[in-house]
Every structure is written in C-alpha cells, then in structure tokens.
C-alpha cells in the first residue's frame, strides 16, 4: 500500500494546531502567574461539551440554525462564557497562589478533578461525537482531505495570529509580556498585576475552550479526555521552551507530526512513548527547549 504523505502531513498540521492552542493558554498562564494550571485539560473538555450541547443539540437540532452560523455563534458564546469563567476562577481561587508553584499546582489539580467528575456526573461518562460542520472532502494528489480538518487548520491559524497581535500591539498584551519578563520592574512602572493575571487566565481558558469546540466536529469528546491533552501540552511546553509562545507553536506541530506519522506507521501508544522519550532527550541535552531562554 502506498503511503499517502499529504494526508499524513495535513493530519499532523491539524493535530498540531489543536495542541498549540491548548499549550499556548497553559504557557500564557504560567508565564504571567507562575502557576501551572493542571485544570487546563478539563477546561478544554468543557469547551468540547459546550460544542456538543450548545452548538449541536441546541442550535442545530432544536433551533435549526444553518451549520456555519451556529458554529460562529458557539465561538462567540465560548469567548464570553469562558473568559468570565477564567476571570472569576483566577480572582476567587488562584489569586493567593500566584508565584507559589507548589500550592498553585495542588489547587489546580483539585479544581480539575471537580470539573472532570462534575462533567461525568452531569453529562454522563460515555463518548460523544457530532457530525462535521463543514461536510465534503477535497481531493488533492490522491489524498482526500475533509473540509473539517482544513477548517480546523485555518481557524487555529487565525486564532494564533490574533493572539500574536493582541500580545504585540495592545497595551494589556504588552503588560502581559512585561510582567512575564520581570514582574517587579513591570509593577513598579505601574502595570496592574492583578488585572493582567485575571485577563491572562481568561485568555488561556478561552483558547482551551476554542480548542475543544474546534476538535469536536472532527473527533469525539468524553469527560476524561482532559488528562491526555494536558500531558501533551506539558510535553509541548518542555520541547518548545518553558514560557516561550513561539516555542509552544513549534512544539505543538512537532508533537502533531509525531502523532500523525507514528500512529500510521506504528501505534498511537508508540507515538506517545516516542514523544516522551524526545522530552527526556531534551531534558538531558537542552533543558531550555528549542526556543526558550536560559534559566537565570
């Protein structure tokens, strides 16, 4: 059987876009607040369930909206709901633990567990999937690429570009970058650490939620997917470099390609183990990752 390289490459890019989005939110939160959010995978999972219930069950099945419009409305809903969720989570729970790595990590583990079992109890533990939003396939050089996958790549790329412009051009984005570089200096120049970290957490949650709604038409969702995505996000962060946003994107695509090619030629479990071995190799040879800055 002939190997269809184009198909594998597109699959890799699509996986990479999703992983990058999840990892970007995690890195943003980590670099601003110095908190590793172990509940991030669960927030991604909640995004997927929002896609299932709001987009599919409510808008498409009940109200008979056209697919594209419903998909667009769901994005707006996620943007609003998840930013509010992130904002208040940071204010109520994470606020006292900024900068305290150990306590922040423990509390987010507890939060993730509540989200996971809460979702399993209210939505049921079984796997849920929905038909694709963008139907049809594009035939190119013997490869049949579904429009859904192409849409994921395009929307993912758009979101990453938006995030780049937000961080590079707006005042609050600049404040986030300044605080992640040197918090005390930034604060002494009048930047609002509290507001910045709330907004950073909100943006991280929104990115994870977007990843969830992007994935669900092409794949499936269940309450326990969060852990796997969180693990991949950690691997990506280490490969790309801790606290580096471009590194996150690069690492995301590397892991996406490993998974796409590895699961074709070997098995998915082998691909996961290989990516872990790559992480170990990075920790031995280049702990700061591909694009990270050296630890001072």
């Amino acid at each position: 059987m002939e190997v269809n390289w184009l198909q594998l490459i597109v699959n890799g890019i699509q996986l990479g876009a999703i992983y990058s989005l999840v990892a970007l939110g995690l890195t943003l939160i980590f670099s601003i607040m110095n908190v590793i959010n172990f509940a991030h995978g669960e927030i991604y999972m909640l995004g997927g369930f929002t896609g299932y219930y709001i987009y599919y069950k409510l808008l498409v099945m009940q109200l008979k909206f056209p697919n594209y419009l419903a998909y667009f409305i769901t994005f707006i809903i996620i943007l609003i709901v998840f930013s509010v969720l992130g904002f208040f989570l940071e204010k109520s729970i994470f606020r006292p633990f900024r900068g305290n790595l150990l306590a922040g990590l423990l509390i987010s583990v507890g939060l993730g567990e509540i989200f996971q079992m809460g979702a399993a109890l209210s939505f049921g533990p079984e796997t849920k999937g929905i038909p694709p939003t963008f139907t049809g396939t594009l035939s190119l050089f013997n490869a049949s690429l579904s429009y859904q996958r192409i849409a994921i790549i395009v929307i993912g790329a758009l979101l990453i570009v938006c995030l780049h412009f937000f961080l590079a051009r707006t005042k609050i984005g600049l404040a986030m970058r300044a605080i992640s570089q040197d918090r005390e200096a930034a604060q002494s120049l009048g930047m609002n650490y509290g507001l910045t970290s709330s907004l950073g957490f909100a943006i991280g949650c929104v990115l994870a939620g977007f990843a969830g709604i992007l994935v669900i038409p092409a794949s499936y969702i269940d309450p326990f997917v969060g852990g796997g995505y969180l693990m991949k996000a950690f691997i990506i962060i280490i490969i790309g470099g801790m606290g580096s946003l471009p590194g996150c994107i690069l690492g995301g695509f590397i892991i996406g390609f490993i998974e796409s090619f590895g699961s074709y030629f070997f098995a998915l479990s082998t691909a996961t183990v290989v990516s872990f071995i790559i992480v170990i190799a990075f920790l031995i040879l280049r702990p700061r990752g591909l694009l990270g800055h050296a630890e001072d």
Binding site: I36, L101, L106, E113, I114, G227, M242
Partner: protein
C-alpha cells in the same frame, strides 16, 4: 506547645487500625484494612518526597513498576515472595534514579510536568509492550500470596497477611521517620525553605533531592508488590493518575508539615469514602473540594487544624484544672 501531640494524633489511627481486624474479619473489611496500609505507605513516602519540594505525580506509576516486577518474577520465574517484594522495590528505585537524575537537577517546574506525563507513560507501556511478560491490558492474574514462613499461612483475608502488611508498612515508615529526624531531614527542610540558600552554603541540592526521591519511590515499589500479593490481580488501570491524586489528597488534607499528617488524612478520607459508599461517583469531587478548602483556609491541613485549635483548647483546659489544684 509540647511536641508529643502530633505523635498522639498520628498513633491513634494506627493503633485503631491494628486492633480493629481482631474484632471483624469480614472479607470486605479486611480488604479495606489492607488498602489503608498500602495508602499509608504511599502517602508517607509521597510526603517524604514533598519534603524536598517535589510532588511526584507518578507515585502510582512507581508503585505499578514495583507491583509488575515482583508479580512477573513470582509468576514467570517462580521466585519466592520474600525475595521479589524487595526486588520490586529495588526495580522501582532504579527506575527512580534514572528518572530523577534527569529531572531533579533542573530548576523550576520540569519535575512536575514530566512526572505527570510519566504516570501515563508507565500505564501505556505496561498495557502495550511485552505482553507475554506483563499481560497487556488484562494485566497479570493469579499472583500467589506470600509463601508460608514460621508455620504461618498467609491466606487472602486472613489475619497473618494483614499483620505482615502492617509490619512491613511500619518498618518502612519508621525508616523515613528516622531519616527525617536526623541530619538529612534538616537538609531537606533547608532545601524547601530556599534552594539557592542551600546551594550557597555548600549543600549538593540535586544529591539530596535524588536521595529523597529514590527512597520514596523504593517504598512505593514495596507497596506495589504488597498490593500485587494480596490482591492477586494487577492491571495497568490500577496504577493511574487517580491513585496518585488520592494519595496526594491524603497528604494535603492530613497536613504536609507533620510526619503523621498523611496517616490522619488516609484515615479521614477512607472513612469518608466508606461512609458515602453509595455516592462513590462523588468521591473525586470531595477530594477536589478537600484540596481547595484546605489550601485556601487551613494550609496546614487537618493536623495543623488540630494543633492550632483543638490542642490549645485542651491544653488550656488542662492547665486551668492544674492551677486550681495547685492553689
């Protein structure tokens, strides 16, 4: 405040645990008592690792390494339990040396991230590689209980097996207690307070961190081999992140500061879990809520709560009685 109070609070659950099986030898209850011993070993060793500011999210994974190695040696090579349960611990410790040497020398969050990933990787590896030895997804079946020794028959659900497990538990937790109370324990505390300060006075931080980590993982491996021998069956799903999480909740809920905090946490959480057995689905939510409430309102955990609130009240009460008697 006298030092003795923490010890009392910790010994109380332990002694109750040792006496209880004499009255009820129902199969289900014995199973729970065995589990409490395993949890106790795991949580004490996890707290031992946390003394150097490293939370090992792969603790269940290391337990799995011990369980699988010892069970495979017993079943495939026919070795005696008395050798394999140590070998299981040693295998886990050797694995911990490799893993810890790579991750613990790095500053920052690397250890947490990689250990979280490692837990999942260990599970995947046991379920998809070397299926002839490790049994794949179905795991290993028919692991025998320990061979008879001194005329004692170790049957599942019997008293000798329980007391054997608790004896091993007590021995190994006592070793960590001794280590914590001697010079090394002070070094560990120093590293927790400030790593850079510890480095500046000439402490080899990586060496001490690695030592604590390897000892903790050795005990986790021992706990794993005990679990394999009394449960008879092990599958990769026994050693998931959820078990690590439960052990972590025990440590945080009981109190990270005192040595007997984990024991208290295990006793409290297992009791809560058994009391609400019919709402077993809610259990992880209770764990999550426990972590959040404890960290937000009582960072010292249950032990610290008793220390700060209960003991002073009792102490004052006792003092006032004494004073009245003196006068």
């Amino acid at each position: 405040m006298p030092r003795i109070k923490q010890t009392t609070f910790g010994f109380l659950p332990a002694i109750i645990l040792l006496i209880l099986p004499l009255f009820s030898q129902e199969h289900y209850m014995m199973h729970i008592f065995m589990w409490v011993c395993i949890y106790f070993m795991l949580s004490t060793s996890l707290r031992f690792i946390m003394l150097v500011n490293a939370v090992n999210f792969a603790h269940a994974g290391f337990m799995g390494v011990g369980a699988y190695i010892s069970a495979a040696l017993v079943i495939k090579l026919g070795l005696s339990f008395w050798i394999t349960f140590i070998l299981g611990g040693i295998a886990s410790a050797i694995f911990a040396i490799f893993f810890g040497f790579i991750t613990l020398r790095l500053k920052g969050a690397y250890f947490f991230l990689v250990s979280f990933a490692l837990c999942e990787i260990i599970r995947i590896s046991f379920s998809s590689y070397q299926i002839k030895i490790f049994g794949g997804v179905n795991g290993l079946i028919g692991i025998p209980t320990p061979n008879p020794i001194f005329g004692l028959q170790f049957k599942v659900g019997g008293l000798p097996l329980f007391y054997l497990t608790s004896l091993i538990t007590i021995i190994f937790t006592f070793i960590t207690y001794l280590i914590e109370k001697c010079y090394w324990g002070k070094v560990f505390r120093c590293i927790t307070e400030s790593q850079s300060l510890a480095e500046s006075v000439g402490i080899n931080v990586t060496k001490y961190k690695l030592t604590a980590f390897v000892i903790g993982c050795f005990i986790a491996g021992i706990a794993g081999s005990l679990y394999a021998s009394f449960n008879g069956v092990i599958t990769p799903l026994d050693f998931t992140f959820r078990l690590s999480l439960f052990v972590l909740v025990c440590v945080v809920f009981g109190g990270r500061e005192g040595f007997f905090g984990p024991a208290l946490g295990v006793a409290a959480l297992v009791a809560i879990g058994e009391a609400f057995r019919s709402f077993a689905y809610f259990e992880p939510i209770i764990w999550g809520a426990c972590i959040i409430i404890v960290l937000l309102f009582a960072p010292q955990g249950l032990l610290g709560f008793m220390d700060r609130i209960l003991v002073p009240v009792i102490w004052k009460f006792g003092k006032s009685i004494k004073r009245e008697n003196n006068i």
